[in-house]
Symmetry: C2
Subunit: 250 residues, 2 copies
């Protein structure tokens, strides 16, 4: 069933009205009319089964039939920090990372980021990534849309530490070491309900200076299997493993 | 260090010669000359540290300095069967699936595949996917290049069953069920050294007919977390979880 994230201000007593792009999607793309059902997602209350009462150019009025009990959110809140990459790599990370349950994304300007974002264009780029996150949330049937934060420096990222229980970074050299730190050693410490921040470098990996900074700030390095993963594949490995451990193995 | 997969016929006694596209890459792209080192990968013996003795237009002659003991291959041989998808989805699956350790790929013409491949164009498309697999193997530092097989029908796929120890398919409806079959229940049965075949549907999922066929042939359905994944994300979840279980948790 089609799902729409609807701002808090549009919900009334067992009623909700849909406007804007979602209204266009309902009337023009899906061609839904009164009597048709959809799932409306309240930012706090979660998903509700709704029935369309009336569709006009001004809005789609729906009755709330039933609040649904769904459990599709990862029990760990994961913040993915990703170095700016070439082409559409960040878009891939946000789209697939959202499907895989990420809670939040922070792009960061790494020493070896070949891509540099023009300051004036940052708000537009973030807006576009935010739209991708919303669409991927709807498609993957989630009840939370991850926030895409503005571009940070590594220093700004490490200052956010206190908000999280665990601070990790994916260091490709771990994959090359015989005596590596396995991802399982780290994940075994994490408990449901906790918040994790994990940093991924750009195409060329972290600079030595960045690694020293992360070590100094007590970020823990993780290995993601013995193979060297591309920058856009590594966050997907991390999220998939976390989902496996907390949603499939338990 | 740069890695090249080199056909068996080009290896001599503690010597190897590199030709063709790889020679071009060595001389023109990397601008390597005598004395430079690279890793040559023998199809049976695996990776060897090599030193260039001489580069001409006819070939790059190298001395084998040392056979390397690397363990970068997943201990389970996974065959990924993926429905034909729109655009570059299959290319994504092959590229990222190779990074994540897949052993082999089989594209299949599913009932709901919107993409139809013109018969005449199949060999060229497979050749292109094979090239992507080779490049991804080099980049991720593997010692095996996954084979990309030609397009199969589902019937042809299920006839291959006897070659494998485990037969799975990723069924999106498992993600929507309360009483689902967890991926962990299935993976707990798999032992290192075994072969697994796992089938993924196209954008629209499997048809009812295909599901009946797979059930009849005793393929086991798996859930990949509670969220609905895109066709190109599902194989990456499967391979990442397998790597986590067999390479990080053990």
């Amino acid at each position: 069933m089609q799902r729409y994230f609807i701002g808090e201000e549009h919900w009334g007593h067992r009623k909700v009205t849909i406007y804007g792009e979602d209204l266009h999607h309902i009337s023009r793309v899906m061609r839904m009319t009164s009597g048709d059902q959809l799932i409306g997602i309240h930012p706090e209350e979660g998903p509700a089964l709704c029935k369309i009462l009336n569709v006009t150019e001004d809005g789609a009025e729906c009755a709330v039939l039933e609040w649904l009990e769904e459990d599709k959110e990862l029990p760990i809140q994961v913040t993915i920090v990703a170095g700016l990459g070439k082409g559409d790599k960040l878009e891939h990370i946000v789209q697939k990372g959202t499907e895989l349950g990420a809670f939040e994304f922070i792009p960061f300007q790494a020493d070896r980021s070949v891509a540099k974002w023009d300051k004036k264009k940052v708000p537009k780029k973030i807006q576009r990534l935010q739209k991708i996150a919303k669409e991927a949330s709807e498609q993957s049937e989630r009840s939370h849309v991850p926030e895409v934060c503005t571009v940070h420096t590594l220093q700004q990222v490490s200052q956010l530490k206190d908000r999280y229980h665990w601070w990790l970074y994916a260091y490709e050299n771990e994959a090359r070491k015989k005596e590596h730190q396995s991802l399982a050693t780290r994940l075994k410490l994490v408990r449901p309900g906790e918040k994790v921040i994990v940093i991924f470098g750009p195409e060329g990996g972290f600079s030595e200076k960045e690694v020293s900074h992360l070590e100094e700030k007590n970020f823990l390095s993780v290995r993601l299997g013995p193979r060297i993963l591309r920058m856009e594949t590594a966050p997907l490995y991390f999220l998939s493993s976390l989902s496996y451990v907390f949603e499939e193995e338990r």
